[in-house]
């Protein structure tokens, strides 16, 4: 499970990661608590999965200005 903390564009983040499938890594939205979004992933390396998710968001036209955190869920 990874955790994305973002105050805005949550719907777009969910849509983006639900449709993500690069480097064999996939995400599936599971839960939302306040500004935190939780995604299941098939990746074993959660640190790497979190970095992939962060990179995917940053590469979006709407993502470059977001201030957010992507990390393995605690």
């Amino acid at each position: 499970m990874i955790e994305i903390s973002s105050a805005v564009q949550q719907d777009k983040i969910i849509e983006l990661l639900n449709n993500y499938s690069e480097e064999g890594t996939q995400f599936s939205f599971k839960d939302k608590k306040g500004i935190n979004l939780y995604f299941e992933t098939n990746a074993n390396d959660l640190e790497k999965a979190a970095k992939l998710a962060k990179s995917a968001i940053k590469n979006q036209p709407w993502g470059s200005v977001l201030y957010f955190r992507s990390s393995p869920a605690k």
Partner: protein
């Protein structure tokens, strides 16, 4: 709060996204960031010289680092580092600028950097003249000077030379010219490259050669357009280079405007607002933070290298890019290290104390994601007022302390991960009063945060027990 977030997403974020994703502004931001290896290396040299040459005389009578073995050699080595970095910061930037514009358009980056550099340097004068009048020279001296290639009479000497690039045209003074000329030249180059107006070589030719050949026509056209512009400009304004004119009419007034209290506070306020709503403030405001305050800082660094803190105070800028880090963004944007301390002392909430404990380590190095998202501060209504107010007050304290001469202006670039007091000490060229100003700003911020931390205690009777109510409160 949910309504505000929805409103932001609908109306504000598209504008912020366009601004933050605008390829030229992104290229400009990346161009500044790209110069970091050089500017930081140069700043290290300035900082070491400040510590071994400029600081000791404040405490030790008769100290002169330039006469002490080993110390004087280190000072000389630092001089070389300076020569290759901050002394030519504008030159390094102009290449980085062209490179990043070309990269944004997906054309030959190296050629983009070269075109930008060549076009900008083309407008710099390579000759110099200078004279002394009111002399009383004997004939032998006049003859000797004339034979050496200068021009002398019994009362005047006129010196002239060719083949010199004035250093004052390659440092921070070059930035605004580079931003305009480098941009126009590189854009001409880019557009022609995209129109495929290129020389094509057989596929057997190595890629490096064919790429360079492909750039020849676009680069030549771009450089000729700029050269013709310089020519026309020299006819209209015969006594000035374009660089000098731009400095006088645009750059200096713009930098002057940035020094007003209102401008500084406005920038500080907007950065906080952006952060609070989950938008990367410094990224969106990079053209102002780096393009204006960053350039002012480079000028201060140059002055500091040339004449120490006294010259910066006399001729430099009071508020520059690093001033925000030194006096307001300790522990990260928002001065959150103070909040962490306030939480550890006054918070009775288990969740807040846990986050604060986890945030201390990163916070010392000005990394505040753990507290920004862990508490969270982002979109947390009770944190809104202190998160905006504390940095604005801190900036005011740092600003007026500098304006009133209580502390030297920031004149050394220091990595933002440097711990707070050390950061302001080093950034001001080892002014021992700077950490005291930082401490005063911190104490005032601390006082601002305390009531809100205590109020947060009262807001949650469960004191940190994870409840559904907890989950909802940030979303609403």
């Amino acid at each position: 709060m949910q309504f505000l977030t929805a409103w932001l997403e609908k109306y504000f974020l598209p504008i912020a996204s366009k601004l933050g994703g605008q390829k030229h502004l992104v290229a400009l931001r990346d161009a500044f960031i790209g110069t970091l290896p050089a500017t930081m290396a140069g700043s290290v040299a300035v900082m070491i010289n400040a510590l071994i040459r400029d600081l000791p005389p404040q405490f030790i009578d008769g100290y002169d680092g330039n006469t002490i073995p080993v110390i004087k050699e280190i000072i000389t080595v630092n001089g070389y580092v300076w020569n290759g970095t901050l002394a030519i910061a504008g030159l390094i930037f102009v290449f980085s600028w062209g490179y990043n514009i070309a990269r944004a358009y997906g054309v030959n980056e190296l050629s983009g950097g070269i075109v930008s550099t060549a076009a900008t340097i083309a407008g710099i004068t390579f000759s110099f003249t200078g004279g002394i009048t009111g002399l009383n020279l004997d004939q032998a001296t006049v003859d000797a000077i004339n034979e050496a290639g200068w021009s002398a009479t019994a009362t005047d000497i006129t010196a002239a030379g060719y083949g010199w690039l004035p250093l004052s045209n390659l440092d921070a003074n070059l930035f605004f010219t580079a931003m305009i000329i480098g941009f126009v030249a590189t854009m001409i180059f880019v557009k022609l490259m995209l129109k495929d107006l290129t020389i094509k070589l057989p596929e057997s030719v190595p890629p490096a050669v064919s790429k360079a050949f492909a750039s020849i026509i676009p680069a030549t056209v771009a450089l000729y357009v700029i050269a013709i512009f310089y020519f026309v400009f020299s006819k209209i304004v015969p006594d000035m280079t374009f660089l000098d004119w731009l400095q006088k009419t645009i750059a200096l007034p713009l930098l002057g405007l940035s020094q007003g209290f209102g401008a500084v506070i406005l920038v500080a306020l907007f950065v906080q607002l952006f952060w609070f709503f989950g938008i990367h403030g410094p990224n969106v405001l990079a053209p102002i933070l780096e393009g204006v305050f960053g350039v002012a800082q480079l000028e201060n660094v140059r002055l500091f290298h040339q004449g120490g803190a006294e010259l910066v105070i006399a001729e430099g800028y009071h508020w520059v890019r690093g001033s925000f880090d030194a006096y307001a963004w300790y522990g990260g944007s928002g001065g959150t290290i103070v909040l962490i301390i306030a939480l550890l002392i006054f918070s009775r909430r288990k969740d807040y104390r846990t986050v604060a404990n986890l945030s201390v380590g990163p916070g010392v190095f000005n990394i505040n994601e753990p507290i920004m998202f862990g508490l969270p501060i982002v979109l947390n209504p009770i944190m809104f007022i202190p998160f905006l107010l504390a940095p604005v007050v801190s900036v005011s304290i740092g600003y007026f302390a500098t304006i009133l001469g209580l502390v030297a202006p920031v004149s050394v670039a220091v990595a933002w991960v440097t711990p707070p007091f050390l950061l302001s000490f080093l950034a001001t060229g080892a002014d021992w009063r700077a950490p005291i100003v930082t401490l005063v700003a911190m104490l005032v911020s601390f006082a601002i945060w305390i009531p809100f931390v205590i109020a947060a205690n009262k807001m949650d009777p469960a004191l940190g027990e994870e409840t559904e109510h907890d989950d909802q409160k940030y979303a609403n």
